[in-house]
């Protein structure tokens, strides 16, 4: 494996309380290779989103990354960046598609202005050049350049989500973090968007950190999957293997509690 794009070592994140701390992430280590689609799975509160936010240092107090934790992106220590370095790092190195990102567009700006906003913040660019770049990026996600003059409310949910993804790719990031990116969309649109992402990462070479609670979807789209339980990464393996041959008892129980679309139905009295 070539040098990883993301390398997380002994990551510990606590939510600091007045009496006791809540250990949200406990000693987590994993790598994501260039071009890899890595899925992070687990139930609410297991710490998967906390990790996603920590990678671009978007975590907020009371979340505290403990000393000894290491997050390397392209070999650079993210936790050691100063403010200006961090500003340049975000979006250029790691871009993030948030949960219900289709609502993260500014409702009073046109699509074009939202692209311009990003491009201008990260480098000198003329309006014309920004417009051309925006049109090119929209084409990547299969949206006509006519849409540059649209406001978010004039676009469908799926289209808004694709606009957000296009904006995220504006500075050719090495890593795209997607936290439940398609949860609010219907399955037909969801498939379309994820297939598009898959195609783009093969063409452009970026890696993906994908977070979802939909384990079936995760197996379908990821190269490798990490399973989290109460802040710990309990199993990491190839997507297919972790589904067909789970090693950790919790992983086994997760699959056993998922109703099946065909074949013999699961039988289970108690939850994992």
């Amino acid at each position: 494996m070539s040098d990883p794009v993301l390398s997380i070592r002994s990551l510990n994140i606590d939510y600091v309380g007045s009496d006791t701390d809540f250990h949200a992430v406990r000693n987590v280590s994993f790598d994501i290779a260039p071009g890899e689609f890595f899925g992070l799975a687990g139930e609410s509160g297991c710490g998967k989103s906390t990790i996603a936010f920590a990678v671009s240092r978007l975590h907020r107090p009371p979340a505290l990354i403990r000393t000894g934790s290491q997050i390397l992106v392209g070999g650079r220590d993210v936790l050691a960046l100063d403010d200006e370095e961090l500003r340049r790092f975000r979006w250029r190195e790691v871009a993030m598609v948030f949960q219900s990102a289709m609502n993260s567009l500014n409702p009073v700006l046109t699509v074009e202005e939202q692209f311009y906003d990003v491009l201008r913040a990260h480098g000198k660019i003329t309006r014309e050049a920004a417009r051309a770049r925006a049109a090119e990026l929209l084409k990547l996600v299969d949206i006509s350049p006519d849409r540059l003059t649209s406001y978010p409310h004039q676009c469908s949910g799926g289209m808004r989500q694709r606009v957000v993804i296009a904006i995220c790719l504006a500075l050719n990031p090495k890593l795209l973090i997607m936290d439940e990116p398609t949860t609010a969309l219907d399955v037909v649109v969801q498939r379309e968007i994820l297939q598009r992402i898959d195609k783009l990462r093969k063409e452009l070479g970026f890696s993906v950190l994908f977070i979802t609670h939909d384990l079936g979807l995760m197996v379908q789209v990821s190269d490798r999957i990490g399973i989290m339980l109460e802040g710990e990464l309990v199993e990491v393996n190839q997507a297919r293997t972790i589904y067909t041959d789970p090693r950790h008892d919790y992983t086994r129980r997760l699959w056993a509690s998922m109703p099946k679309l065909h074949g013999a139905q699961i039988r289970q009295e108690s939850a994992p």
Partner: protein
Amino acid sequence: MIQASPILALDNVSKVFGHADRPVYAARSVSFALHPGRTLALVGESGSGKTTAARLIMREYQPDAGQLLFRGTPLGKGDAKALKAYRASVQMVFQDPFSSLNPVHTVRYHLERPLRLHQPRLDGAGRTAAIEELLARVKLDPALVMAKYPHELSGGQRQRISIARALAVNPQVIVADEPTSMLDVSVRLGILNLLNDMKAELGLALLYITHDIATARYVAEDIMVMYAGQIVEWGAMESVLGDPRHPYTRLLLSAVPDPDRPFAETPPDSELSRIETIRRQSALPQPEIQQVAENHFIRPIP
């Protein structure tokens, strides 16, 4: 759809929004029936009309055409007494257990209110006994949860309280609109098992509304697929899932996440456009229903 006499039936019900010159059919000639001890799943994408169907049943909307039949009798408008009796028979469980319970009231209050309204002869001790029984039925410990407020409970526990509240009036029909979509995988199964138990033990008729077809297969014997306000395919679960005949059902099933196979390719635009025809031609007469198997029907694309 099935023989025997249904508890509740929708007979060619339509609900139209928007202007007369550009009508939007939220429900168009929707017909189905709910039977005791059976679960009917209603699946479709957001905006397909699933929740409109639920609201029509809950009498939040009046149909623009067609009628609801309760035990074979058409439901009229505005008869308050009949409506109250209907409400006691048809209950709803909502999607979001975080907003469907009142944050300033205890579990006891939530369950006591329907009892006071619908069983006025019950005294305080009787109500307490009834609440304990309801909580036991949804597998919660009365001693632990009775005095708790919603924020002290987990999502799964809250959804169990919603179900107990629905059961408090001894209903015959329960409409569950995405009852597990906000819950984790492990918790979800517990709620689905509870719905299955209620159906079996209390002989309830269930309408299970979801976009998650795998859970629909887990709880329901029959399924309806809705698109653009119309039910495009319906029948026995295994028949519809195993041999989908309507292009939209095929599209939907091919896109549903399934760890047992890779993603199927999105069909060509021509196919998607053909399906869109249903939405575009919503004002034109509908094609005839076709029977494709013993208990399996489609309404073809015009």
